[in-house]
Symmetry: C2
Subunit: 182 residues, 2 copies
Amino acid sequence: MRRSDHTRAAILAAARERFASDGFERATIRAIAADANIDPSMVMRYYGNKEKLFAAAAEFDLRLPDLSGTPADRLGAVLAGHFMDRWEGDETLIALLRAAVTQQAATERIHAIFAGQIGPLVARVAPDPAEAPARSGLLATQILGFALCRFILKLPPVVGLDREAAVAWIGPTIQRYLNGIP
Amino acid sequence: MRRSDHTRAAILAAARERFASDGFERATIRAIAADANIDPSMVMRYYGNKEKLFAAAAEFDLRLPDLSGTPADRLGAVLAGHFMDRWEGDETLIALLRAAVTQQAATERIHAIFAGQIGPLVARVAPDPAEAPARSGLLATQILGFALCRFILKLPPVVGLDREAAVAWIGPTIQRYLNGIP
DNA sequence: GTCTATAATTCGATAGAC
DNA sequence: GTCTATCGAATTATAGAC
């Protein structure tokens, strides 16, 4: 099954790129197959249909850092820096975000990521557990909004921010959403 | 030309709804025509092609308020409240945002809106004119991020915020991006 | 496992009658 | 101005040879 594994991995890599750059509907199985240097019918054979292929390509782990040793007033900066690095190095989240706008499966995946990964983290550091859901929602607005403007809409002033400046601006916002007051 | 005007307006209204709920590629001319109770060929006759129809449907004015009489420390709250109201009452921006993810014409329209409407406003209230572009970009990340999570992704905790709570949380962020320090 | 051929849809766009 | 009919292209998905 070694040959098969290699083919499957090539398909997934090509799918992630196409879904990230073109969105769900404009990314065609034909183009993905061409990128992976295989026949389009192989994609169907391995993944059944386009939706299942997307689901496999959009598997995503935020790899959130362990914040137990981070001082409470440094959480925002650490998280902002983490997301910055995470996005630059993996286009899966961009693919997910682009697709989520029209594809319900992608929307549900994003819901699951925030409920399963962001939510628990915020619950551990929020001052009042009852506020945790609202706080993680606000976190999402700033994190996803930044990714939207920088990587998808490519607004010039947002693209122009270097990592340091971005963390300096976004960090305090995240900090306030995590454990600050309105 | 009265009949013609009525038909054109009906097409535009239906187009806005479909583009907002389905995105650019999934919104079909056939469906838009059916919603407007006219023949699909009429859409082509009046607007030439799908892209021009979208351009006409995505005409958008943020209607930003005159902030000359607003105290400097109230700008964030006033702007946050304004955007909140503006989105609830007009789905054009949602259509624009949904389409911008895959359609270059929509992306350019958003660029133009921020350069032509948000930019000048920020330039008037920012402490240092040289920082104005970065500040308006940051503003965009929070404003669009909020709209994305609330109206498109529909993240439950963000949907659950009432107007008052949303302004209380988002207002200070906008305030800091407008005239605060990192 | 891999590829050819093609079925079955769907959509944007056009031509032309009335 | 409005509608019928249809073209041409693109796409997902399947059947089956090798």
